[in-house]
Structure formats: C-alpha cells, structure tokens
Amino acid sequence: MKRYSQTTGEVGESSDLSPWKTADALDLVYVGYGLLIVVLVLVSYVLGAFTWLPYDPEQIRVDLLNAPPGSAGHLLGTDFLGRDILSRLIVGIQAYFLPGLLAIVISLLLGTTLGALAGYRSGEVETLVTYFNNLVDSFPRLVLILLVIAAFKPGIYYIMVVVGVTGVPAVASLIAGKIEFLGQKNFIEAAHVLGLPSRVILLKHILWHHCMPLLVIQATIGMGEAILIETSLSYLGFGVQEPTPSWGNMVQAGANYFFQGKFWPSTAPALSILFTILGFHLLGDGLNGILEGSAGK
C-alpha cells in the first residue's frame, strides 16, 4: 500500500516544502544512521586524542592473550598481546583521520578543479582532463600503491596521497557531468544573461549550490575507501605499523588466530569497519535520494 496525501491545500499557499520535509522515510533513516556513524567517529577521535580510554591501548598483558569479550573487564576482549581491543578500536580512528582527510582533500580539490574546467570550458581542456581521468583510471589502485611502496617506503601518508589522486577522476567527472547537466538546463546562460561573471557562476551557483551534496557524499565515500585500502595493505604487511593501532592491522593480527576458533580479535575491528563504511555509503545515498530526488518535482 503506497500512501499519497494532501496537506489541506487551501487555495493560495502552494510554495515548495523543503526536501527534508518531503523526503522518503527510508532516505531519512539512512542519513540518520550515516550521521550517527560520523558522530561516533568524531567522538572516538576526540576520546582518542585526549586518551580518555578504558585502558592504555598499548599496555601489554602477557597473561591475558586473545581473551574473549567481557573477560577481566575488557568489554571487547584483548588482542594477541593482551591489549584492550575496545581502547585500540577507539584509538584506531586516529590512524585514519588525518591520512584519510589528506586523501579526501586531494581528490576533492583536484577533482572539482578539473571537473569545473572540463564541464565549463569544452574543447582541448575537456579532452585533456578526460585523458588525465582515463590515465589515472588505468592503474589498479592497489598495484599502484605497491609500486609506490616499493619505490619509496610504506608510509600511510604516501599511500593516502595515492588514494587521493586515484580518487580524482570520480570527483572530476561527477562535477563535469553536473555542470554539463545544468548547462543543458540553460542555467548558466541564464546567469550570463543576468550578467554574472563566470567565476561567480562557477563558484557560487554551480559548485556551492549544486555540487555541495555531491562533494559531501564523495568525502564520506573517500573516507570509507581510505579505511578499506589501509586494511588491505595491513593484510599485506604494508599498513599502519605496530604498536600504533589501526582497524586494519587489528583485523590482520586477529585473523592469525581465526582458524583456532578465536574469532573475536579480528571480528570486532572487521565489524567496526563494516558499520562505519556502511554508514558512509548510506549517508551518501540518503543525501542523494533526498536532494536529487526532490529536484524537478
């Protein structure tokens, strides 16, 4: 049963409601969940930063290795060195926060610039940007990272720079597409007619008003990718190195005991990754659904 209703529309008031008022309930739920995750991440970042933690995440307890959850006051148990998993999960955020931010900033800045160029000036510029995008897209990201690692050294920041750059084409073509679309809606021409300088149109109207949601979404997704990449690299031994905790190296270290039936040390961080990334994706989808969905209605 799908339900359509009319807010007693008396003659006169026919102004548009805000998209948030009219959004799909589902989309709202997604956004809600996404925001919840974002908040959690931020909170645990702060907690980590001030080391307000149940235990010292680097305190080794040789007598309490791979303890199951709840044992000896360790809410999520302990890892292969008897360190408190919960505390390490919280601190683990630190490993991603700045690096992830770096990656995001790179891909967003470069991406929007190129995208704006491509979408706004067609011709050679566009062709060049397209070439750049396809070029970057030609590299399997992980292989490229391995190459960089071999060439320089396994540092999370090196890696995140690569992640950022490989994220550029996505943003670029997104922005370009958006601008093209708006162009088709004679949006830009209109602005021109009103005598607005291109810069203003580009920055204020297009990027700010129309691309913001997209960029926000991209940012969250970028963070998610940063986490997954680091996890994969940890498995390969190139991720964040001990004793600094990262969710990736926690899953990796825990997984060494997986086949002995000690699931928890790897499952706890794995699930944190899962819920976080899920949150980021749903946030993106929700925002998309609400903002894009309401467009043109």
Binding site: R3, Y4, Q6, T7, T8, G9, V11, L17, S294
Partner: protein, 365 residues
C-alpha cells in the same frame, strides 16, 4: 449507429507532487465517447489534461496514484469491457467535503490488474501514436523491425518474411518514400516526418479498432505537420478507423474531427459536433472555447479584431483547483447575475442543443 466504441465516464487521474505534498488533479471527472468510425478530437491548452486522458485509456500511467476512479467502456466485436475493471479495489480514496485529500493504492496489485486488462487491448485493439516521433521510436532497433514486431504480435501473420512484406505494404500506405530502404534504417537516420509516418504505419499495421493520436504533429516543422495531417485525413477516409485525436492545434482538429471535446483544467467544458463548436459565431459556446477560437490565426480574426486576441491569465493550477467554475478567473463574459455562482459552484455539463453540451452558468437556466 449503435453504442459508441469507447465511452469514458467521470474519469479521474491524479498525480502527486512530493515537494508540494499535494495532488495534481490532471484529469478531474472527464466524460466523453467515441463513435465507431468517427474521430473525436480533444482540444485544450497544454496542461488541460488531454494527453493524460489518452494515457489513462491505454493504462500507461503507473506513476503516482494515476487513474483513481471512473469507467472506460470499450466495445468491440469481442463484446464490451471496462478498461478500468476492478481497479477501484486497489485504490481507496479519503475525501473531505467533496475533495479527495488522500489516496492509498496497492501499486503492485493495481499494476498487475492493468496489465491483465490491457494485455490484449494495447496495440491490438487500440493503437497509439505520440508526439516527438523521433524519441518515441526505439533508437536501437530498425524502423522495419519495429513495425514487423507489431504485426507478428497482433496479426495472424507470423512468418518473418510475410511480416516484412506486410510492413513494407504499410510503409507504402503511409507514403514513406523508398520504403525498402527505410525498412533497414534506424530512427535517428530519419527525419521527424518520416518517423511519424513509421509510427503511424506501426500503429495501423495491427489493424486496431481505435487509434489514439496524441499531438501527432507536435515537434514537427510546419510544412511536415500539414503533410502528416493530410495523411491522417486520407487514412481516415480510406480505413474509416475510429480515432481519438488529441491536439491543441485548432487547424489540425478542424480538418480531422467529427466531434470535439474542449478540455479545460482537467474537465470537459464543451462537447459536441465539430462544425457546431468550431464554426464561426459566438452562439452557444463556452467562453473558453470562444476565446480559444478567437486566438486561432485566421483571416476572419484578423479582420474582426485587427490582431490575435490572446486569452488573459493562465491555465489554472491543477493543484489548487478553484471550487467554482475553473475558467472563472479568466472569463470575460461573467455577468453580475451569475458571478456569485461562477465563483462558488462548478456548473454541470448541460445540453444546449442536441448532442452539444456546455459547462457554463450562462446556459444553466
């Protein structure tokens, strides 16, 4: 000449605007009928609900609430059936002092039912041609193949080669130049006019009882428009197929229509034989019709008014439908005697002369 081929009774088709959280009353109680072999033409400004009516008949609207009530009786040799049969079971209306404020609809069930009913009607009994033929044809399939498909679906001709011959016949019938060549073309290779001919060929090839032409000339340049209209006129006389012609272009209508229904704001405001309605003089006409005719470019108009009088104001907002006469806001023939009623109550369709009904307080006493 017996019962009409198609009878529409009090059809209501609503849409829903998410951003306004309100209903768009696209079609709001339309009643009309098409006699066998005759052409009924629906005229009105864009947004008056003409096309939606047509799509409602074909059951092609599954967005939003869509068709929510009414009856469409379709009579063929196969007997008579209601194209909206049982659909009311899937829709429940919440009314509030005579206005529908809420619709809840079991879309899946509704859709299934529609498909069930329309399965053997679409394309077979009722065929349809659209505006903007270029985009209405499948760009990925050759013209010929699209026609052959219709033939093999709906006529006894199943064998590919025969089907091809058949569709070539129809292509000639619609005066497509060098049909054999066109047969293998993709739509984008053809001009708008050619596409429309192809569309018509495709529609007629299954020899339907009723042809719905939805703004068949829109999106074509003037010269081609007239040739297409000419074609339709010929086919009409040759095939004598009943047609529902939807157009905002009076000239097209006057060339093809037997009967005319003038739609305004989702309802029929005037309904009757073409000559009477489109004929000169302002006798028994709905003010809107009059205005519409007046705005049509013609020698007479120019002589009389030294120019083209446009209708002031705009089409009423389909969301906040006025309680009184829908045309009241723009009407230039309101007299103090009726003003009050015009504003408060909506007039009924009233027969002013046999077979000619008008919805206006002027004629309601």
């Amino acid at each position: 000449m017996g019962a009409p081929l198609l009878e529409i009774e009090n059809l209501r088709t609503y849409f829903h605007s998410r951003s306004k959280r309100a209903f768009i009353r696209a079609v709001d109680g339309v009643t009309m009928a098409i006699a066998r072999g005759k052409t009924l033409s629906v005229v009105g400004e864009s947004g008056s609900g003409k096309s939606v009516t047509a799509l409602s008949i074909m059951g092609l609207l599954d967005a939003g609430p869509g068709v929510i009530s009414g009856k469409i009786t379709f009579r063929t040799d196969g007997g008579e059936r209601n194209l909206l049969h049982d659909l009311e079971h899937y829709v429940t209306l919440g009314e509030q002092d005579g206005r529908i404020m809420e619709v809840s609809k079991d879309e899946a069930g509704w859709r299934k039912q529609v498909e069930r009913i329309m399965a053997e009607v679409r394309g077979k009994e009722i065929a349809m041609i659209f505006q903007n033929p270029k985009s209405a044809l499948n760009p990925f399939v050759t013209v010929g193949h699209q026609i052959t498909e219709a033939i093999r679906l709906h006529t006894p001709t199943k064998h590919p080669r025969e089907a091809k011959e058949r569709s070539l016949y129809w292509l000639e019938r619609v005066k497509m130049d060098s049909p054999r060549l066109r047969f293998d073309n993709y739509p984008y290779g053809l001009s708008g006019g050619m596409c429309q001919r192809a569309m018509i060929a495709m529609a007629l090839s299954s020899e339907p009882a009723l042809l719905i032409a939805d703004e068949p000339t829109t999106g074509l340049d003037a010269t081609i428009q007239s040739t297409i209209v000419g074609l339709l006129a010929e086919l009409k006389s040759e095939l004598g197929i009943a047609t529902l012609l939807i157009s905002h272009d009076i000239r097209v209508v006057s060339r093809l229509a037997d009967d005319v229904a003038v739609m305004y704001g989702g309802t029929v405001v005037e309904y009757g034989p073409a000559p009477e309605i489109l004929g000169a003089g302002f006798g028994l006409k709905h003010p809107y019709t009059a205005a519409l005719l007046a705005s049509r470019p013609s020698v007479q108009n120019v002589q009389e008014n030294g120019g083209l009088p446009a209708i002031d104001g705009e089409v009423p907002d389909p969301i906040e439908v006025p309680r009184g006469c829908r045309f009241y806001a723009r009407c230039n023939r309101v007299t103090d005697g009726i003003r009050d009623r015009c504003e408060r109550r909506e007039p009924e369709l009233k027969e002013v002369t046999p077979g000619h009904q008008v919805r206006c307080w002027l004629y309601l006493d």
